[in-house]
């Protein structure tokens, strides 16, 4: 299957629903290493995401992703906005000109999203950040594309990998952001940012399977 413009919108809307359903958990997780406002920030970020969708009238996939990225960057919620926003803006760079993505171009878009985000942070896997969920997700999607999997299967594999990555942060010691200064005290709780990314990936997978056709 190929993904068209409306499939991407459905993916992103499902992702926003996932955050909405879990925002209090995200805030609770953040309270172990930060201010306890990550859930509220993510809720506002998803409001920005919807704004980006509504504001895009051109039907261009690149415009959609750029508008979402810029809107999320404007969330004024610390590191979350620029990081998450840059992921969407990065995806725009590889958005197919005909606004239809097969599994290979989808994987390339996710890879470009990560590349763009990585220009802003030096966080690596193991540092207890959103990178711990994002990299496994992006890599699983690339692997599934290489094996020629169908998009719903590939995105489900990405979601599973992202969830596993987020879960693995539980035993990690934070090395970035505000939480790093807590050191060992944050061990035992998964990272809020990684959990958010995992939820977004679950939403992407759901959005495609519920909208397949």
């Amino acid at each position: 299957m190929n993904l068209g413009y409306s499939d991407f919108v459905a993916m992103f809307q499902k992702a926003a629903e996932q955050i909405q359903a879990n925002h209090s958990t995200l805030s609770k997780l953040d309270s172990f290493g930060g201010d306890g406002d990550h859930g509220t920030t993510m809720l506002r970020a998803m409001g920005c995401l919807r704004k980006g969708i509504d504001e895009t009238t051109s039907g261009s996939l690149a415009d959609l992703l750029n508008n979402i990225g810029w809107a999320i960057m404007g969330v004024d919620g610390g590191a979350t906005g620029p990081l998450l926003g840059s992921f969407f803006s990065g995806m725009a760079e590889k958005a197919p000109a005909d606004h239809r993505a097969d599994v290979h171009s989808l994987a390339a878009m996710f890879e470009a999203g990560w590349q763009n985000l990585s220009t802003l942070t030096q966080a690596k896997v193991g540092d207890k950040t959103l990178v711990d969920a994002l990299i496994p997700g992006v890599e699983a999607l690339a692997a599934a594309a290489q094996q020629g999997r169908d998009i719903p299967v590939a995105l489900q594999a990405a979601a599973t990998a992202a969830a596993k990555g987020a879960e693995a942060t539980q035993t990690m010691q934070p090395r970035f952001g505000r939480a790093k200064n807590l050191g060992a005290a944050a061990i035992g709780h998964p990272d809020a940012g990684a959990t958010s990314v995992s939820l977004l990936f679950q939403g992407f997978a759901q959005g495609v399977s519920s909208h397949a056709g």
Binding site: S27, G36, D37, G74, D76, R178, N181
Partner: protein, 333 residues
């Protein structure tokens, strides 16, 4: 959660606080665009503009330093959270001029990310902006690895001297050199005795047991270099000034600016006791306390404790520090 604060709705907290802030200081500051704080009487275009960004909840920082001889534009974020790149680039476009713009960034993850994105855009748009990063908290790693050092109250003296330099007609490169000169020669250490509540979420920031203090706690309750029994004013002053002097490598005969910045609920009375002992310790080392300042410049809600700031000063820095300024948070006549 139990929170004793006079607020209306967490969603509107920042915009409402800004409304009240400009009402209270109408002769000095006003709001423009998407809640950017600017001077009521703008600086002339032939002088360098100074801009900063940062989370709210630290009043009077940072918007309280907008005014003559200080900042031209401040971009306030949500409570304890940096504003995003869109509003920062809006501020940089607003401030942009031939003379140039100096952007002061405190070393916190969100602020740095927003600044990086906005600086990339500024470059593409050919805006004339240079950036200085403040990272003077000595509680965490060593001076050799300053990336991990947080920006605490030191942003205020950096803004003060850079703002004075801009007002005197220094070029952008000269203003940057002044800001970096202050940055290189300053150090801050915080001590906390009681925590605070986050005014939007009600979350407890840094719970501290009775009779204990933490030296090196960050301005969002980030852990520092050690919890210990609460000490006297004299003993606390000794611990802290010794660490600052050692970190800066201050030698006999040199001159220091020392500031005691109350973070919320510590009284002026206590801070006077602390400063008194600081001067005695310095005298013992034949270091001159050239200037001192006590007050609340960067707060953390109702947290108890203070940040002790020290900077090595030379003749030029002292002149810039003494130059007149007029902002809601600090005035020199």
């Amino acid at each position: 959660m139990a929170m004793k604060k006079f607020i209306n709705s967490p969603d509107k907290l920042v915009s409402e606080l800004l409304e009240g802030f400009v009402l209270a200081n109408a002769s000095k500051v006003k709001l423009t665009g998407s809640n950017l704080v600017v001077r009521t009487k703008p600086k002339s275009e032939d002088k360098v503009a100074v801009v900063t960004l940062g989370g709210s909840g630290h009043e009077p920082a940072l918007s309280g330093f907008v005014g003559f001889g200080m900042l031209d534009v401040s971009v306030p974020g949500e409570v304890f959270a940096a504003p995003g790149p869109p509003r920062l680039i809006e501020a940089l476009r607003l401030a942009n001029r031939k003379a140039g713009v100096l952007l002061v960034v405190l070393n916190h993850a969100g602020d740095v990310l927003s600044a990086n994105v906005a600086m990339q855009m500024a470059k593409k748009e050919n805006l004339n902006v240079k950036q200085v990063l403040t990272h003077e908290d000595i509680s965490v790693p060593s001076r050799q690895d300053p990336k991990d050092r947080r920006g605490l109250v030191g942003c205020f003296p950096v803004i003060k001297v850079a703002g004075a330099a801009a007002e005197k007609g220094y070029t952008l490169d000269q203003c940057l050199a002044v800001a970096e000169g202050m940055e290189r020669n300053m150090a801050t250490l915080a001590v906390a005795v009681s925590g605070a509540t986050h005014p939007s979420t009600g979350a407890v920031i840094a719970e501290l047991p009775e009779g204990r203090m933490v030296v090196g706690m960050g301005q969002h309750g980030e852990a520092g270099c050690g919890e210990q029994p609460l000490a006297s004013a004299d003993r606390t002053a000794e611990i802290m000034i010794e660490m600052l002097v050692k970190d800066l490598g201050v030698k006999a005969g040199e001159e220091l600016l020392v500031m005691i910045n109350g973070v919320g609920s510590t009284t002026l009375m206590e801070m006077y006791l602390v400063l008194r002992r600081v001067e005695q310790v310095l005298k013992g080392k034949k270091i001159k306390l050239a200037r001192s300042l006590i007050g609340e410049f960067l707060t953390v809600q109702e947290m108890g404790g203070f940040q002790m700031f020290a900077a090595r000063m030379d003749k030029e820095m002292l002149e810039l520090w003494d130059a007149p300024c007029d902002s809601p948070g600090y005035t020199v006549r």
